[in-house]
């Protein structure tokens, strides 16, 4: 390219003549699930605008559940598809479909948690009116009148739509847009807690500032990659890598910054610091939903970038990710040991879990991908289940998240304590839970790829992690209840179903993992 002196109109003209603009062909069937969800999001906005206040909640709920189920059916319909569409920007393939299906089911469970409104005597988990000042007279009136912030459903749907898009994004632009469509609603949702609103708002602001900051890194990385490869298409980038392996500094810096954006969403160390604050501050249903789903979407994107786009330079990124994985596992596990807030503890736990999944990424093999996908599924259900339990454990001021309130909980409610114990054991990777098979798959991939020392670090981290998971069980089961001990509130059918589903899936994946293992094993190839 030495046509620096060419005038702009001439340039445009030349493009127009040489590469006539073709409207990209879009196979709408392939993106039907995304369209359904985003369309529902639009309808949801319209409902907010035009439906009467009393009708909004039922309408929104029907809309959300119907659209999620419809989208799920659409995903099933696409089973085993391997196709590109929209000029190669969207890749519908095994990993994408499996993860989309998982995301939709998890979103369904998340929606059930968000729809729960029998736990808090004054309504659901969200502020009656986000604009009202915390503690003000306004707020009290809104609460008293039973106002509900039904906009959360629009936000929710757009976030889900963004995630679905994230999993199929085959070029960096779509990926960026999906990232933002997913994140922006979540920033808001994080700030909408009914109780402890200062914390919630703080969480939203931190999440937003840091999220935007990381997006900027992602975007600038994408720009540099574009500068290197001349394209933002992942397959095209791969081609460029094999065509011109030299002059790579642009590529390396670009890749690094791109990864920073994705690692941020995953919650990998040292880009993890938002996680505990946001998980703790956000309304618990949102935390559960977000913890389970964002990680899945971001990991699929990470896999796609690394395997499809940068598979040719795996020797470059493997050592770096190796270090990040070790840091993530160790820092997450170690800091969690001294946490006293259950949500914060689970946040650090999710960091550690991200580290374990990164072992599968570093393996850079189909087994690694399959293992990580399995892990993500079990992690998603376990996490959402755990946060569902947290919603139920309450005292006078809402959820009782301080660990001291959990002492002797098993005596108050053996069932809930048992469920939580199952989730903890799964996170700790004890056999007969899904978490064990997940760890097993990922570690197997790691050792098969020769990363034995990484797996050993993972083992050490697992041991440290086991300590704090076990500690909660000790508190619940081995202590006597005291006057600080929280009560377990009987939830409505929404949470009950979500909780039961999460627990069932966690155990079933541990006992009969074969169907899912087969699914992910057959879906371990990205289309390019």
């Amino acid at each position: 390219m030495n046509s620096a002196s060419t005038s702009v109109p001439a340039l445009v003209g030349r493009f127009a003549s040489e590469t006539p603009f073709e409207l990209p062909v879009i196979d709408y069937r392939l993106i039907l699930p995304i369209l359904i969800i985003l369309g529902a999001g639009v309808v949801s906005v319209l409902i907010e605008a035009f439906a009467p206040r009393r009708a909004r909640r039922p309408l929104q709920l029907v809309l959300v559940f119907v659209s999620l189920i419809a989208a799920f059916i659409a995903v099933i319909d696409l089973a085993k598809t391997q196709a590109l569409t929209a000029a190669g920007s969207i890749a519908v393939d095994g990993p994408a479909l499996v993860m989309q299906g998982t995301l939709l089911i998890l979103s369904l469970l998340g929606a059930m948690l968000m729809a729960e409104r029998t736990l808090d005597p004054s309504g659901d988990a969200f502020a009656p009116r986000a604009s009202a000042l915390p503690g003000s007279e306004d707020e009290k009136q809104f609460a008293a009148r039973g106002y509900l912030q039904t906009e959360v459903w629009s936000l929710f749907l757009f976030a889900v739509g963004g995630m679905l898009l994230f999993t199929v994004a085959n070029d960096l632009l779509i990926m960026f847009v999906a990232l933002e469509v997913m994140s922006l609603p979540l920033y808001l949702l994080a700030g909408l807690a009914r109780r402890r609103r200062l914390l919630s708002q703080e969480a939203a602001m931190k999440y937003f500032i840091l999220g935007a900051f990381s997006s900027a890194f992602f975007l600038y990385g994408a720009a540099l990659i574009y500068g290197y490869a001349g394209s933002i298409d992942l397959p095209a980038i791969a081609d460029a890598l094999s065509a011109k392996p030299s002059e790579s500094s642009l590529m390396l810096i670009g890749l690094g910054m791109l990864l920073v954006g994705l690692l941020f969403k995953i919650g990998a160390v040292p880009f993890h610091q938002w996680t505990p604050d946001v998980y703790q501050g956000a309304p618990t249903p949102v935390t559960g939903f977000m913890a389970a789903t964002v990680k899945i979407a971001a990991f699929v994107a990470l896999f796609r970038v690394l395997y499809v786009g940068f598979g040719g330079v795996r020797w470059d990124w493997e050592p770096m990710l190796w270090i990040v994985a070790i840091l993530t596992m160790l820092v997450g596990s170690i800091i969690a040991v001294t946490q006293t807030d259950i949500k914060r503890m689970l946040a650090y736990s999710s960091i550690a879990q991200a580290g374990f999944i990164l072992v599968g990424v570093v393996a850079a093999s189909p087994e690694g991908l399959a293992g990580a996908m399995f892990y993500l599924v079990t992690y998603g259900f376990t996490t959402i289940g755990a946060f569902a339990v947290i919603m139920l454990v309450r005292d006078g001021n809402g959820e009782a998240t301080h660990l001291s309130s959990w002492a002797g909980l098993a005596k108050r409610s053996p069932l809930v304590a048992t469920l939580f114990a199952i989730f903890m054991l799964s996170l700790a990777g004890i056999p007969l839970t899904g978490g064990f098979i997940g760890k097993f798959s990922v570690f197997t991939a790691g050792i098969a790829a020769g990363d034995t020392s990484l797996v050993l670090v993972a083992v050490v981290a697992s041991i440290i992690a086991a300590f704090f998971y076990v500690r909660v069980i000790v508190l619940m089961f081995f202590s006597e209840p005291n006057d600080q001990t929280a009560v377990v509130v009987i939830p409505s059918v929404f949470t009950t179903v979500a909780l039961a589903a999460a627990a069932t899936i966690t155990v079933v994946l541990g006992v009969v993992p074969q169907p899912l293992l087969e699914l992910v094993a057959h879906a371990d190839v990205f289309v390019r």
């Binding site: 920033y187 808001l188 700030g191 935007a212 600038y220 574009y226 394209s231």
Partner: protein, 99 residues
Amino acid sequence: MNPSNVVILSAILFSIGAVGVLVRRNAIIVFMCVELMLNAANLAFVAFARTSGNLDGQVVAFFVMVVAAAEVVVGLAIIVTIFRTRRSASIDEPNLLKY
């Protein structure tokens, strides 16, 4: 104009934005710095579109602008809420969540 100079400019802008995020205390200005970073990326995209001889970069720039606009909406909403609650736009003031 040599596109590589433009890229360097974009890098400088990006750095200014990043440093701004780190050093400024006012949430609005921090936010503006983030926007500056996004726009620096835009500039890089446009510049690279020129060197690579296709329009992708320019298309990206438009998309990013739209996304940035959406981001502004969300961001300002959050910041304004915080400001109303705390009577301060300092990014350091909300500091209840830690350790």
